[in-house]
Symmetry: C3
Subunit: 212 residues, 3 copies
């Protein structure tokens, strides 16, 4: 029940982020619907595909689909200043979604008796897969590869659940809260993963204005 609430908050955040990207790209309402849905459900679809669960399990989640639909349509008709307001909340809701979906993805992969590397991949892809497809459909480079620390928290979840360090009910809740806090701190303090830049690119950086 509690997880259902987290899932709904997460799906709403993911769907709205898709709709906002669609509006930024001047896509029509169809574009907002497609980008909203792939952001919300794309990660779960890729995960199911990779760990051997039926992809059409998706359609059983009627509450989540309805949530996504309402969230996208509301975002599409909201005044500009509301959208700027959403953006503040989205980061927090998104942290809840990342944490809830990643824990769910890790549990599915463990139940399917996959090796640790598959558990970690399934966990990370559940968390970041939707955003990657959203950015590709918007003609952008995926933000998750260049933004603040995000996927590393999904990796931590995959590692702890994959190694069975965490597997009971209250442990999962504690992990959930810890990851929401850590993810929120990452964007609040602007934490980044180590970044390797090739020599040619360094020179480019000084000559060419940053793009896209």
């Amino acid at each position: 029940m509690t997880w259902d609430v987290f899932n709904i908050m997460g799906i709403a955040a993911f769907a709205i982020s898709g709709a906002i990207v669609a509006m930024e790209e001047k896509y029509d309402i169809l574009g907002a619907l497609v980008l909203g849905f792939v952001t919300a459900f794309g990660g779960g679809i890729i995960r199911n595909l990779l760990i051997g669960l039926p992809v059409h399990m998706l359609w059983k989640q009627e509450a989540l689909i309805t949530t996504a639909l309402i969230a996208i349509l509301l975002a599409y008709v909201s005044p500009d200043r509301w959208i700027n307001n959403y953006k503040k909340w989205i980061d927090f809701f998104d942290a809840i979604g990342l944490s809830a979906f990643s824990i769910q993805g890790a549990l599915y992969a463990v139940q399917a008796h996959h090796p640790l590397i598959a558990v970690i991949a399934a966990t990370v892809l559940t968390g970041i897969g939707g955003g990657i497809i959203r950015d590709v459909l918007a003609g952008r480079k995926p933000l998750v590869f260049r933004g603040e620390i995000y996927a590393i928290w999904a990796m931590v979840i995959g590692l702890l659940i994959g190694l069975k360090v965490v597997h009971q009910g209250w442990e999962l809740y504690a992990l959930f809260v810890a990851i929401v806090v850590l993810r929120t701190m990452s964007f609040y303090f602007g934490w980044h993963l180590p970044l390797r830049v090739l020599a040619e690119d360094k020179s480019q950086t000084t000559n060419i204005p940053a793009k896209g």
Copy 2:
């Protein structure tokens, strides 16, 4: 039998549109083959994946695969002015393909006993999925999110078949003709879906020349 003819016209139109995009991007003959095939069959592949049909059903459609192959190779060797000629016909053939494939997608989803939202999604993706992959592989923003009304007709098909308003033989033919006419009217009269533009983007529009 009649549907086979519609399918062949639609597949040819989708395949040629992929080949033309490949030529516009200066891709080689391999690029034309890949883009032609994904445009023609990509929508059906995504639909099968999402509603739980085996993706390799694709290979049973030998007549359609042969049609696509011939259409792509013909397009690739046609003189420039023939290609400009094709472009006029493609919109009409494409309307036939959209209508025929969407009806087929809706019927598959209904047979698989999926909820209405899944029927609509399957219908729309059968119609627009191939063009989206084509545009992504060409490094473009998907045209369907910004062009004239297109996917809405697939939605109408999904809704009418999903709600079983239309399910008999002659009703399907009438729906097919109606959607071909409506789609043709959309591009003839330049009908667009409502478009929401964010404030920041409005200012950009005045400063930066339209691209892509």
Copy 3:
């Protein structure tokens, strides 16, 4: 056993090429891991999907996954001049990967009793699918559609194995060596596929500086 060695060399080459593209795009270590993995395993995933093999077979290949992981991390911490050094070797290792993976893809498709066109498509996609996803995730137009002859060698493998011209052990080795040599010659001598350019694009080429 021998094929295992070829597969490991090929996976390492594909994974390193993904990591290098990620560094060129200024992606963080997560981006390098994702791009490295999709380059190495994306082709096999698409092939399995299209010919009806379970996608999660992927996780059984533990030696290859470990190889990819080590190769990506090594590439990410190597000094610039080592990376330039890798680039020379990568083309050769990549030819080994293309040849080994394509032969494997063709054999899988033949075992699944698919028609010739499916065997050829499975073979080509095993060879080029990973690189296409890599380029899309890097925001680039897929190199394989514009570079030197590459996929045609996979097509040759698909044709010869699909028509059962080649099916015994030593014949497969001979085909493997021939394709490695031919692929190496293609990039050494700069062989290209025939390229059709539309009239409008020719005029653009003279006015607009080359991009992307």
